[in-house]
Symmetry: D2
Subunit: 379 residues, 4 copies
């Protein structure tokens, strides 16, 4: 199979670097276009980027020249698949323009996650929501559309929740997070703020976590979404961890479940099963989306971070709650499963669903004249 | 006023060092006796102890020779006030022997906290519980008795809770802790376990926190205690912080309270007022037992740890909860307010209440023959 | 004694905060003027500053309004003593203007440290260099002058070196530093760069350390300085420490010295003795400028940082070197002794030397017309 | 090729875990025997071991039962190749017994490194030293022998040094280390000692580094070694890094070398070339044993640790020294290249050299009666 050309918007940031690391040898996608901020346009990637990952920057990427970050300037080189990890205000302006120009925008930004016709998707949880892209305004004109993945904390959390919701129904939950500094990007959290310290606040994080979980576990109609009937209360903290968000959860179920039944729900979680997607194999999908670790002291970033190549939510410490039903702790890799890997998995399932077949739509170039006003987002 | 002689059991440990630091210039108490494990007996303190605090070890303490850790071996030098910070199994064996020998044992150990006739006290919260010592078996014979302070997490938490409980009644609460490594003593947590990591488990900590809060907010009769009618659900974690436990709390009140009313309850918290203790000034008592810090990012160990010389619980981020009534975050110094300072404050109020007046009881030495079987603890 | 009014230039930065902390209750100085960047002028200090120290921001400082950062705008309120901790490029422009306006500028900036007529002073080491201010151009017109303290690493190092240089002569030395993140100010070092990491580079640090030590141990004539005849080779690193620079030193002496003689040189180091300054008591001077700690594992930031209220260099591990003569390790508090405290100590000795007696010079206000071109610095 | 059976002595420790991780899929070796301390004998590995690595413990290893840690008890199951990572006093007693029993003991312990007939080897540096095993007493009787790898710091250092020594000759060098906590094993360094701290001492480390480098760069005769004529002065520190030792080096060469010539020496370092080992491919050997990183801030544990799968020494910051000739900083993975990986590489080259062909020697079992007194080590 020929690999599809893809571009990365926000390529020099912390998540942009993860996109490059994870896509460098991807069997389905081929990076042909990189853009970051205006001032880095024209520079070789290696020069514009302070590479902070522990695998070397691939040589062919190092030499790629950063492009202007607008579809209008990209010309014929603009790939039709764009991974976006720009800050929310920039995403708000740019992502609709790329969609209007005929691109499938797979965004990690929070700007449009709660948009009325924008799917917020974790494939194992609500792949069926992706159909709503067909109702986006740009889809009908240029073929372009916009799909988002949730906040890093919501992704790790919704996987074990989905398994429980399916069998027992979730009524409400408390979640307290201890989040890694990489979630704030680079330079991000000053060392004076986090060495030997805890910061009990992350801007807008609690709100995102509370609203995104309900959308993810909700239902989709032809052109909109219905939130699940559950309530989340979140308390979010930053701790001195490099990668990996830990979350302490207490959940109230609608239907009683034993310890063994909970473990079984996680062990038997077959995410794409029964949704017309049986047997799909996505390159970035882990063997187990949820993995339970026995032993009092698990999960831990130190030992569990890279399970499923960083795509698995590790769960541990399932025990009764004196107030709700069950308490447990989970760990999720925040810049792989919680960001770049999430977007790539969304792209993979979109590819499988044929959403990247743009043959009936005009070429990207001729889409240039389309108005950004015809945004894919109604909200 | 002449200073009373005191001894420290477990003097070389992390909490023992704090006892020494905080008592070195204490206006009421004078350290005359130090004991640690058997193998350190006979050594000068400076030699037996790996001093880890950031103020120098006082010279006169450095030269003191560690004594055998039993009252029987202490002879005439045994002071009648003993601060204890030995591990729970050792406390279980030794503390009743010191009480039987006529000593007031002010313990930071968990061994007897839930004992049926053992006061578990934070002076600002339940000083009236101290009267129950008069019903302890040893009190009647040798004059000795046993008083405990709560677990480090429970102390920091119960201060702001007490202010709310008094005015609005607490029905239930969730609390998730992020605890400093000093809470585990020395050598304690291996660096390989905590550098860049979170450990989502501390042995018995959740249980302690859940049961101690109810006892602290409960009532005392002449010879026993009645737990408060409230339920706590705790999730405890270890983080890479040196000193200072951070706790995220969501609380359900029995009577509705506004944001302003909650802040007022904390600001106006006059702990000893109306308990026949008005106007008492205890040397280690902070000006404010609970202090609220405005600003999204507070409290933090970095900036708030030493408020009230480490004896104040700093609270911040008061905000509505989607599930219960109010959420907030608190910080408490775990080896000062949460351990040594708590015990010293207990000793100070005991002194004010006249409980250290042993004139009517036999001298400590003649108490030697008393049986440890006549333990102060019924449970 | 009436306290002299002082101002702080760069008052909101990391060092500016230390100035405020250390000067808040100073017996000789009274903060009456604060300035930071242009954009913070007009704001109350508490609002413009992200206070990061572990003692509370004093109330009266919190309410002070930040002034424009030029002497011309200060009017009659400009104090004649200005502590400066602005970045080097800003210092280069502003400090000469304050000196020209008649102020004694006590600077922690690197901008003029190597200036031909600017004293670079650590009082215990080279207080006699201060006389060179009398040759500064501004001194003669407005009475204003400029004095600097060394780089944070050089200060900690030069104290034990001075004791050795005096007795044995230093020919050369290697020094490798492990420096705290607070040295880079705030936000400074990103947490992604330092958590669990070492950065083997600090811009210009090695050069500063190499040249400043020679000036400090050198001699002063009426109007210039002669470097000491010694060579330093420095390797500077950033480590995950909050406060406290550790330095590993190997030194070649001109005259052989035994282990005992080295220890004696440090123990008997009477810095101001024999320089016409015997018996001077400066409020910020530690009892011992150099203190040796026995025991293999000392000094350590954890336990030794605050010796002498953060003004003492702690030395340990004196042992023979296979290549030079002696190796040792030292620790110095980089934002107290290494920055704000160093400048305050310079101000204290200047006060004792009568350099703050401006009676014969015009009032600060009338100095406004003086040209900044008549800078105190020839270089 | 059939894989050779190997055993691991000290299998549950930090280095033992690395042995298992690195040997789990090794093309030449097959783990068939595991031993740790007496008290863990008889337990399944997963139960006796607190696995701390970030890749999962392989299932087949998890189930292996730990054996008694003596060759006499091993019986017919004793493999003839034993990797050893036990503490030095235990190594001193046990390793000669395994060698006497006919085993090739590939040790990471320091016990016999400086032994007069024990090769201390880094294959790229002094593979020719391995011939000295033929002169070991046990080699002649049972076929068993003992080979060691250097201290973790010495390994990382000697690779770039060897490249320089070969071309320019090294006369002397200063080295200051900043070492990761994993070097101390588990539980190892208490978190209270290292969080936000530096420990300026590691027991015996400076002595090891100083003497091992001279042996490594020295020459071997038929039955002994001659140290290289160079002097090392080392200062060793522990920092809050998980894995990766950073070393700051200043070196005096015997023959002048330019910046470009130094870089060329490293770039062209072909370790096994010209030693009769040209073209050897060892599975664990990195493509580049020494790799230079340009850019002021390199190398760093964060980004360079895993170069060459943790087997490469990364060098950076080559610059002139004011005292010697050249300064540079290096980074080496201390538990891969500095311990388990070093031993495995030694085993690989021993395999290539035919040293594991034991056909002419008695079976391991019949060696049981051999006297440990006939130790392989004369010293």
């Amino acid at each position: 199979m020929e690999r599809r050309n893809v571009g990365i918007l926000g390529a020099t940031g912390a998540v942009g670097q993860r996109f490059i690391q994870l896509l460098a040898d991807h069997p389905w996608f081929n990076i042909t276009w990189l853009a970051a901020s205006d001032r880095s346009a024209g520079k070789p990637y290696a020069e514009a980027c302070n590479w902070r990952l522990d695998t070397p920057l691939p040589d062919h990427i190092a030499k790629m020249v950063l492009q202007p970050n607008t579809p209008e300037d990209a010309g014929a080189d603009l790939p039709r698949i764009i991974f976006s990890s720009v800050d929310s205000p920039i995403a708000k302006e740019l992502e609709p323009r790329f969609a209007a120009a005929g691109c499938a925008v797979i965004s990690n930004s929070s700007a449009f996650r709660m948009g009325a016709d924008v799917p917020l998707v974790v494939p194992e949880v609500n792949a069926d929501h992706l159909e709503v892209i067909e109702s986006q305004a740009t889809r009908k004109t240029s073929g372009g559309f916009l799909v988002t993945n949730p906040n890093c904390c919501a992704i790790g959390l919704v996987l074990p929740l989905a398994a429980l919701h399916e069998r027992f129904g979730i009524e409400k939950l408390f979640v307290t997070t201890m989040q890694a500094v990489s979630g704030a990007g680079y330079p991000g959290v000053p060392s004076l703020d986090i060495l030997g310290n805890v910061i009990p606040f992350i801007k807008s994080e609690e709100e995102k976590l509370q609203e995104e979980v309900a959308k993810l576990l909700g239902t989709a109609t032809a052109n909109s979404f219905q939130d699940a009937d559950l309530t989340v209360s979140a308390m979010c903290n930053r701790v001195a961890v490099l990668e990996g968000h830990t979350e302490c959860v207490s959940v109230k179920l609608r239907k009683a479940a034993t310890h063994a039944e909970i473990l079984a729900a996680w062990a038997e979680f077959q995410p794409l099963h029964g949704k017309g997607l049986d047997g799909l194999h996505l390159p970035s999908a882990p063997e187990f989306s949820v993995e339970y670790q026995h032993g009092d002291t698990r999960p831990q970033p130190r030992v569990d971070l890279m399970r499923g190549n960083g795509m698995t939510t590790t769960v541990g410490r399932l025990r009764p709650c004196t107030l709700f039903d069950w308490k447990f702790t989970l760990l999720s890799h925040n810049t792989i499963r919680g960001a770049a890997g999430a977007a790539i998995l969304n792209a993979e399932i979109l590819a499988m669903l044929g959403k990247f077949d743009f043959r009936k739509f005009p070429a990207v170039n001729s889409a240039k004249s389309l108005q950004p006003a015809e945004s894919p987002v109604q909200a």
